[in-house]
């Protein structure tokens, strides 16, 4: 009886590892943005060719490090941090539901990438395609 139960435990352990791997792949995907998304306003872009917009909340522990890394990795870009709770209209317009949500806008304000969660950001940094 015990060997059979041990086998069940081993199968469950493999199932957990498989699910974890699939979930991480799905969660870490960088999704291209839909055309319906509004343009990032000029007041945020400040005329820059590239603007990173980081939507944060007070409890977002990874938002600060993300901002620092973006400033270091892309010094020519404009990096703007927006408190999603203080800016509800803006966060609603860009459908921000969690923090960190990072948008990359071009010089015209078109959103070229949308990264939701620290893991998606890490994946984008590793493979910025």
């Amino acid at each position: 009886m015990i060997p059979l139960r041990l086998l069940v435990v081993v199968v469950l352990a493999f199932a957990v590892l498989l699910v974890a791997r699939l979930y991480r792949q799905w969660r870490g995907k960088v999704r291209s943005d839909k055309p319906a998304t509004p343009l990032v306003p000029m007041s945020i872009r400040a005329g820059a060719e590239r603007t990173w917009v980081i939507f944060t909340t007070p409890l977002c522990a990874s938002c600060g490090p993300i901002e620092a890394r973006l400033r270091a990795a892309d010094p020519d870009a404009n990096v703007v941090r927006i408190d999603a709770i203080e800016q509800p209209r803006l966060s609603h317009a860009f459908k921000v539901r969690s923090a960190p949500t990072v948008l990359l806008a071009d010089g015209e304000g078109r959103v070229k990438a949308r990264l939701v969660g620290a893991e998606a950001f890490e994946n984008y940094v590793r493979n910025p395609t």
Partner: protein, 146 residues
């Protein structure tokens, strides 16, 4: 708007989940049914009264955490607390099943908790927390992912 709760060290709940997983799996291997009500109570104490009252949360806070580096990030305490509540409900159902003589149903429920807790402890993927986040997002409540 309600005041945000104090962020917590996410390694505390993960340690709690690791102990829970090991206990439930060992209980299953040796067919020791009291593990289900015992850990329902352990989870209930932490979920209902806070980390000071959860035995393994307190063990982590007092014995393990002082020996570790400070956490690199903190998390909202509400999602793991909700996840623990889900665990209490399922383990209580498992206890009822054992008491009614439905051993297979009881272990199935206990193993569901073991798998979910193991997933969270080893990978950080907390299904109960995601359930909380899903509800929070639908209600328009902004939360931190990490």
């Amino acid at each position: 708007m309600a005041r945000s709760p104090t962020p917590i060290d996410p390694r505390g709940p993960r340690f709690n989940q690791a102990v829970l997983t090991l206990a439930l799996l060992i209980g299953f291997v040796f067919d020791w049914k009291p593990v289900a009500p015992a850990f329902a109570l352990v989870l209930l104490l932490g979920a209902a009264f806070g980390t000071r009252y959860g035995p393994f949360l307190r063990l982590y806070a007092e014995l393990i955490k002082p020996r570790l580096q400070p956490p690199s990030e903190l998390e909202d305490p509400r999602p793991p607390r909700f996840a623990a509540t889900v665990g209490v409900v399922i383990l209580t159902a498992a206890t009822v099943a054992f008491a009614a003589g439905a051993t297979t149903a009881g272990w199935t429920l206990a193993l569901i908790v073991a798998v979910l807790a193991g997933l969270s402890a080893t990978t950080g993927i907390c299904v109960g927390c995601e359930m909380w986040l899903l509800v929070a997002r639908r209600r328009g409540t902004l939360v931190s992912n990490s």
